[in-house]
């Protein structure tokens, strides 16, 4: 209905999140006038500068029309199979968190039930060794998934070279007639109903639009001017400092490395030309650290202003949730785009979904810190997940959780949350039968890495810069 449609959109923030939003809105709504205010980058806008994404990035790229092969060949991204966890929990053997099927159900019995029983009896190898992506990651190998072959049932994510990825988004946005202008936030003019009538830039310039997006980072001056409420999660998520650095290119590796520690954790993400290193901790007083205030904006969408990325949810980089949540928010905002009046019922649905998704992500990270032995405040929602899984290996997937069940289960098992008992409905599969099936499966999976090239070699064959 054109008389209620939003006609113009102004986005504060010209980083990855702002440009992703610009490209997505311009692609989905060709009649919409989209402008991006390229504010100075905020070093604390993690979604704009970290290399990590999740496997949902492919869907986002398909929506906005960003071709992955082109990105890879341009050296703007490399594929990533998963995360290698070391010393997490403390003293534990290294394990891999990868995307894709682990094992196969026996009839209606979930595979992890059978695996957990065998594991308790000391008869099962690590969980990730029952997944294609797991054996490939451990062997330093990679291929793109190939339907119809044993290399079908897994997924991968991308590691992004921020500057080049941002440039690719900028070029895409420009081709979609997004206009950009440099500027800094100077203030807002309110309408009588409380919404924003105009965005004022530092030089006095006035930008009018029907809808505004604040993608400028955690300070979120535009969103905060309307709704300053913030839900603080620092009791649950213990670390609030990030040191970022770059090292020379390291050996190409299909997995990122995560090293746990009581005082903080470190990561290494190898990219073409460099390796991004990071340390997440809680030490105050170090001049160079980026401050993170874990939590979420109470109402990410207020009147005609939507906060996206770090402006909406601030989390440390564990499992790379930052860009993932930003992309998810962009797609949700387009799917639920209200009329020009931004009726409270319509934006309430956006906020309901966004908050539920963010809280599940918080719980997912908190699970890791709990297993590291840190004294965190455990949210009730996480306590329920843990109680049910520890008792009998059951997991209930909640509406709006953007993490698949397999992602949760791999983390729970990888972190050593071993169900205490087999579920009665799974107990009918005799342990010996399950063990034999598992051995056969392991033998099949163990043979797979030999059939594909090493990660660097595969990328070279595809003319993808890897190192």
């Amino acid at each position: 209905m054109s008389d209620r449609a939003i006609r113009s959109l102004a986005i504060l923030g010209g980083g990855i999140v702002g440009l992703s939003a610009a490209a997505a809105f311009a692609r989905a709504l060709p009649q919409l006038a989209v402008s991006v205010i390229e504010t100075a980058p905020d070093p604390a806008a993690l979604a704009d500068r970290l290399p990590g994404s999740t496997s949902t990035i492919h869907r986002f790229h398909a929506r906005i029309g960003l071709d992955e092969a082109t990105l890879l060949r341009a050296g703007a991204a490399v594929p990533r199979l998963g995360l290698r966890f070391e010393n997490w929990p403390a003293g534990a053997a290294r394990w891999f968190h990868v995307h894709g099927e682990h094992g196969a159900p026996a009839g209606n019995v979930a595979f992890h039930q059978l695996w957990a029983r065998a594991r308790r009896e000391g008869r099962a190898e690590a969980w990730h060794r029952h997944a294609v992506a797991g054996v490939l990651a451990e062997a330093g190998k990679f291929v793109h998934p190939r339907p119809g072959t044993p290399f079908a049932a897994f997924d991968y994510a991308l590691r992004l070279v921020s500057e080049r990825y941002c440039a690719a988004l900028a070029a895409l946005a420009a081709s979609l007639r997004v206009t950009g202008l440099a500027g800094a936030f100077g203030g807002i003019e309110r309408r009588a109903d409380g919404g924003v009538a105009a965005l004022l830039l530092a030089g006095g310039r006035r930008i009018e639009a029907d809808l505004y997006i604040d993608a400028s980072g955690p300070a979120a001056p535009l969103a905060a001017a309307l709704a300053p409420g913030f839900e603080d999660w620092s009791a649950t998520l213990p670390f609030d400092r990030l040191d970022l650095g770059a090292a020379p290119a390291s050996a190409a590796d299909p997995a990122d490395t995560i090293i746990g520690g009581q005082a903080g954790w470190q990561f290494a993400a190898p990219l073409p030309g460099k390796t991004i290193l990071g340390r997440v901790h809680g030490d105050r007083g170090e001049g160079q650290s980026i401050a993170i205030r874990p939590g979420r904006r109470s109402t990410p969408w207020t009147h005609n202003v939507v906060a996206l990325g770090d402006a909406a949810v601030a989390l440390d980089p564990l499992h790379w949730p930052n860009l993932h949540l930003a992309q998810s928010g962009i797609m949700r905002a387009i799917e639920l785009l209200p009329g020009r009046d931004c009726h409270p019922v319509e934006i309430a649905e956006y906020n309901r979904r966004a908050n539920a998704e963010a809280e599940r992500m918080r719980d997912f990270q908190a699970l890791h810190y709990l297993r590291l032995g840190l004294p965190i405040a455990v949210p009730n929602s996480l306590a329920r997940i843990l109680a049910l899984f520890e008792r009998r290996g059951q997991f209930v997937h909640e509406d709006e959780d953007s993490l698949l069940e397999e992602i949760w289960i791999s983390a729970l098992l990888g972190l050593g949350v071993l169900p205490q008992a087999i579920d009665p409905s799974a107990a009918g599969v005799p342990a010996e039968v399950a063990a034999a099936g598992m051995a056969e499966m392991r033998a099949g999976l163990a043979a797979l890495p030999a059939r594909v090239p090493a990660y660097a070699e595969y990328l070279a064959r595809c003319e993808i810069p890897a190192v």
Binding site: L32, A104, A106, A153, P424, V433
Partner: protein, 522 residues
């Protein structure tokens, strides 16, 4: 697609699994499961628990021939198919034994206003285009006075209107795969059909009337049941399928009742089977609004089930009886029979070591054929959360959360049928259409009314097509739509919709009639 490696392993494991069940491998002491009541709920629970947990249970079912069963749940939802399949029952045998017909949806007549009719189909409306739900494309054309009736884009609706039936196509991308089906059957025959299956699975049946319930002094759990004959039956887990009496959960444990009659005031049903009219059988259940409630019509192979669900505050039993006798189209096969109930549910369906299944846990009027579905949900959850060793609070809480999740959604959906109406022709309708509704429903309606948005669910009942069918069917047409569809050229869009409608009509026209599909003479 799954790798061959895994397929191979899966097949092996299933064979081994089946063998192990036959062998009855025992890892820990079997739980003594006592099922109270031998109606549909009782025999469904006995069959499923004995079949799916053979190594873990000893199942006993107590029923009394003196106590009748309610047995009005003749209309089902597509989920019952999964139940039949999981148990390994033969669909043809089941249908023959229960004189079942196919069901493609529920037709509502006169709900929004007198003269209205629409089908709530088991299936989708159209197909999404560019990841945008079909509804939005249709809404845009509808605003231009084009696109026709949204029901024309539902394969199930077109098929039901022509009284045809075929099972959905196997190719998931085919148009003829965009629907599901359920059964309409003689509920008094379903229990006995399952009984023979359950007994084959080792379920022990005891005939007798329960006179008292013995509770453990320390824990408050139910320890044993005493029968009139003097027999004492001990158990570890008691499944209350005693119907409205709620013998264990309600009477013995005193679990609190949450009353919903202020939202759903119908509290009686007058049931009356009649002879089947000649001609083709409609593959649908019909609900027709009446002055003090509504009336069901469920065509089976051999007869038609009818009943008037009404509010006793607005209609006497005698008047209801006269109304249903006047309404049926065939010769009555019995005297009208009255059933009394109350909308609501027990606060917890699982308390101590008692799990209530079906009417013993709660009641929602059969407007959307949900009774047997709710039985099924409770059984599935009980099996999924079956006690390991002792009963844990975490299992019980998870069970009760799931049951609440289902009940609340169904409650809202039922209230919608009364609320979204402009009927002004009786005191009952004036009362229900103006009553206060739950906030959760008010939000759903407003969200839909503004731009056709529907809350997403990953579990349970009533996904987007159900809300679309009932809301649009009862006159709640969204004022706006997803703005992405505005970019489409209306002429091209109109042509695409026309093509889809023609394709559905052409494909449905090739399908057999309902009687032929059932193997009955024309």
């Amino acid at each position: 697609m799954r790798a061959p490696l895994f397929r191979h392993w899966r097949a092996d494991a299933i064979i081994a699994y089946t063998r192990a069940r036959r062998g009855g491998e025992v890892n820990q002491p079997r739980k003594r499961v006592i099922i109270v009541g031998g109606g549909t709920a009782g025999w469904m629970a006995a069959s499923a628990i004995a079949k799916l947990l053979p190594h873990a249970v000893e199942v006993t079912l107590i029923e009394s021939a003196e106590i009748g069963i309610v047995g009005v749940g003749e209309a089902t939802l597509p989920h019952l198919r999964a139940f039949i399949e999981t148990l390994g029952l033969d669909e043809a045998e089941f249908m023959a034994a229960t004189h079942a017909t196919w069901k493609l949806g529920i037709e509502f007549r006169d709900f929004g206003k007198p003269g209205d009719r629409y089908l709530h189909p088991f299936g989708d409306f159209g197909r999404p285009l560019h990841d945008i739900p079909f509804l939005h494309w249709w809404l845009r054309m509808h605003a231009l006075g084009q696109g026709g009736d949204i029901a024309d884009y539902s394969v199930a609706n077109v098929m039901a209107a022509q009284r045809r039936f075929a099972r959905p196509a196997e190719d998931p991308d085919a148009l003829l795969a965009s629907y599901g089906y359920a059964y309409q059957f003689d509920a008094t025959r379903f229990g006995p059909f399952l009984r023979s299956f359950a007994e084959e699975q080792g379920v022990t049946r005891i005939e007798g009337r329960i006179v008292s319930v013995e509770r453990d002094g320390a824990t408050g759990d139910v320890a044993a049941l005493l029968l009139e004959s003097g027999t004492r039956i001990e158990g570890d887990l008691f499944v209350d399928c005693s119907g409205f009496r709620s013998l264990l959960l309600g009477d013995a444990l005193g679990e609190e009742w949450e009353d919903w009659s202020h939202w759903l005031p119908c509290d009686r049903a007058m049931a009356l089977p009649c002879a089947a009219p000649p001609g083709e059988i409609e593959p649908l259940t019909r609900a027709t609004a009446m002055p003090a409630g509504w009336r069901w019509r469920i065509p089976l192979q051999h007869r038609v089930g009818n009943g008037y669900v009404y509010s006793s505050a607005h209609l006497s039993d005698d008047a209801a009886s006269a109304a249903i006798l006047a309404a049926v189209e065939g010769e009555p096969l019995a005297d009208p029979r009255v059933l009394r109930f109350r909308a609501g549910r027990r606060k917890r369906s699982w308390s101590h070591n008692v799990v209530a299944v079906g009417l013993a846990s709660g009641f929602l009027e059969p407007l959307e054929s949900t009774s047997i579905y709710l039985v099924q949900v409770a059984i599935q959850q009980l099996i999924a959360l079956f006690p390991i060793g002792g009963i844990a609070e975490v299992d019980r809480d998870a069970f009760n959360d799931q049951v609440d999740y289902e009940y609340d959604r169904i409650r809202d959906f039922l209230i919608l049928h009364y609320h979204a109406s402009t009927r002004d022709d009786s005191e009952f309708w004036r009362a229900v259409r103006h009553m206060a509704i739950p906030d959760s429903l008010a939000e759903k309606i407003e969200l839909f009314r503004r731009a056709g948005r529907i809350q997403r669910y990953s579990r349970g009942l009533f996904f987007a097509p159900s809300w679309i069918a009932v809301m649009i069917g009862q006159g709640l047409v969204p004022q706006g739509w997803d703005q992405r569809v505005d970019a489409a050229d209306p002429r091209a869009l109109g042509q695409a919709l026309d093509r889809l409608r023609s394709q559905i009509a052409a494909e449905v026209a090739t399908l057999p009639g309902h009687r032929a599909a059932l193997g009955l003479p024309a």
